[in-house]
């Protein structure tokens, strides 16, 4: 491999990761348009990434080691849902707290990791600065979507991702919760957030099977069971708000329901 190629590889690699500056991106994309060989190399690199993801995804499907579960005082088979991770209160433990288990196609994560995982959804990353410790950043595009988006309405979140609220419900305490999906670059994150004391707090996040056998291209895909279960737990079987009710609540800035 000569120098020119090495240099190209480095550029292509950084391009994939969104790490080229504007000028470099422009120069590279211009070349990509003209040079089929360069395009093929880029595709090969992306394929290498997908292959890597797929290999690591097989790890997620294995149960976590019992020793780790014991450390966290949890059983992998704890009741309360196969793969729902509640957001616990304090200390390092909250980042691990159980029940934790990894379902075949869903990895659920707590607290801040939600941000990592959500950011991972689009290749370019949701630069919207999504979440810290389970709370959706008030300046983020996602926050805007949750605060003012109607169910079904799709909005861009960052460069490469789109978000859509699926439904709105009130929980037993009258707090409103919204199930939503973030899609980008062939991956989808499903999540539930509840508006508590003015913040949108993430309650559960699940990922569409990015590494499902043979496919990487699903859009929203099926809703992960964990997210479904959380929604069920929140609603206690009552119906989601109608669009009309939803619009009213949005216009009243999420004044708590009297339920």
């Amino acid at each position: 491999m000569n120098m020119r190629h090495e240099n190209d590889d480095s550029k292509l690699s950084a391009f994939i990761d969104g790490e080229l500056d504007e000028r470099e991106t422009e120069a590279l994309t211009a070349r990509l348009a003209d040079e089929p060989a360069l395009r093929a190399r880029l595709e090969a690199m992306r394929a290498a990434d997908e292959a890597t993801r797929k290999v690591f995804a097989t790890l997620d499907e294995r149960p976590l080691p019992q020793g780790v579960m014991d450390l966290l005082g949890a059983s992998a088979a704890a009741p309360g849902g196969d793969n729902v991770v509640a957001f616990p209160q304090r200390g390092i433990r909250r980042f691990f707290q159980a029940p934790v288990a990894i379902a075949a196609s869903v990895a659920l994560v707590a607290g801040f990791l939600v941000s990592r995982q959500l950011e991972q959804v689009p290749d370019a990353g949701l630069d919207a600065g999504l979440v810290t410790a389970g709370v959706v950043d008030a300046d983020s595009a996602l926050h805007g979507l949750l605060e003012t988006g109607s169910s079904g309405e799709e909005r861009p979140l960052g460069a490469d991702a789109r978000g859509r609220v699926l439904l709105t419900v009130a929980d037993a305490s009258g707090d409103y919760c919204r199930q939503f999906v973030v899609e980008g670059a062939g991956r989808a994150a499903h999540a539930v957030a509840c508006r508590r004391a003015g913040d949108w707090e993430l309650e559960a996040v699940g990922f569409a099977p990015a590494a499902a056998p043979g496919t990487f291209q699903q859009a929203a895909g099926p809703v992960p069971p964990a997210v479904d279960a959380t929604v069920d737990a929140i609603t206690g079987g009552s119906d989601p708000l109608s669009l009309e009710e939803e619009n009213r609540v949005i216009s009243e800035s999420w004044e708590k329901s009297a339920r």
Binding site: E6, D9, S10, L12, S13, A14, I16, D17, E19, E35, P36, A37, L38, R39, A40, R41, L42, E43, A44, M45, A47, A48, D49, E50, A51, T52, R53, K54, V55, F56, T58, L59, D60, E61, R62, L64, P65, G67, V68, L71, L72, G91, I92, R93, F96, V100, I102, A104, A107, V109, A110, G111, F112, L113, R116, E119, Q120, G125, P213, G214
Partner: protein, 153 residues
């Protein structure tokens, strides 16, 4: 976070069993010592994980031997040999991946899988950003060559 640390651990160790041991030590250490204020928890945890692995390597005085054998991951969960990715089986990809150096795998895992920026990956691995960039390019090209993904030009 557990899955993140675990994947990172696998990228370091190249073996599932070692990765799970390393995950366990990392969780132990984090529970024991807690977190400093104002740190990025993921980055901190991964650094702890990496440092533990480096210690482990030093104490074993064994480097790289793990990489001679392909890691056995996912055997029980893969839906079968027909699992293919382009022209390759997942098995072949796995072998290619685990024949990379630990440094290359780690950076590939952090950036391509966990979605960390180069800056974040550099902080976790405690290397300059330029090193992250060149290692990634080398990891990707090595993977293309070893696994037979059509390399184009």
């Amino acid at each position: 976070m557990l899955p993140n640390i675990r994947r990172f651990a696998l990228s370091l160790t190249g073996h599932v069993a070692d990765a799970d041991d390393l995950l366990q030590s990392t969780v132990e250490r984090l529970l024991e010592r807690g977190l400093p204020d104002d740190v990025d928890v993921t980055a901190w945890s991964l650094r702890v994980c990496r440092n533990l692995w480096i210690d482990e390597m030093r104490s074993r005085k064994v480097r790289r031997d793990a990489q001679r054998e392909p890691a056995v991951i996912g055997e029980q969960v893969l839906p079968g040999e027909e699992q293919v990715l382009g022209e390759m089986t997942l098995e072949e990809v796995q072998q290619a991946l685990f024949s990379l150096s630990e440094d290359q795998r780690a950076v590939l895992e952090l950036v391509a899988i966990e979605g960390h920026s180069y800056k974040e990956a550099a902080a976790i691995l405690e290397v300059p950003i330029g090193t992250v960039m060149s290692r990634l390019a080398r990891a990707r090209t090595a993977l293309i060559e070893k696994s037979g993904i059509a390399a184009g030009g």
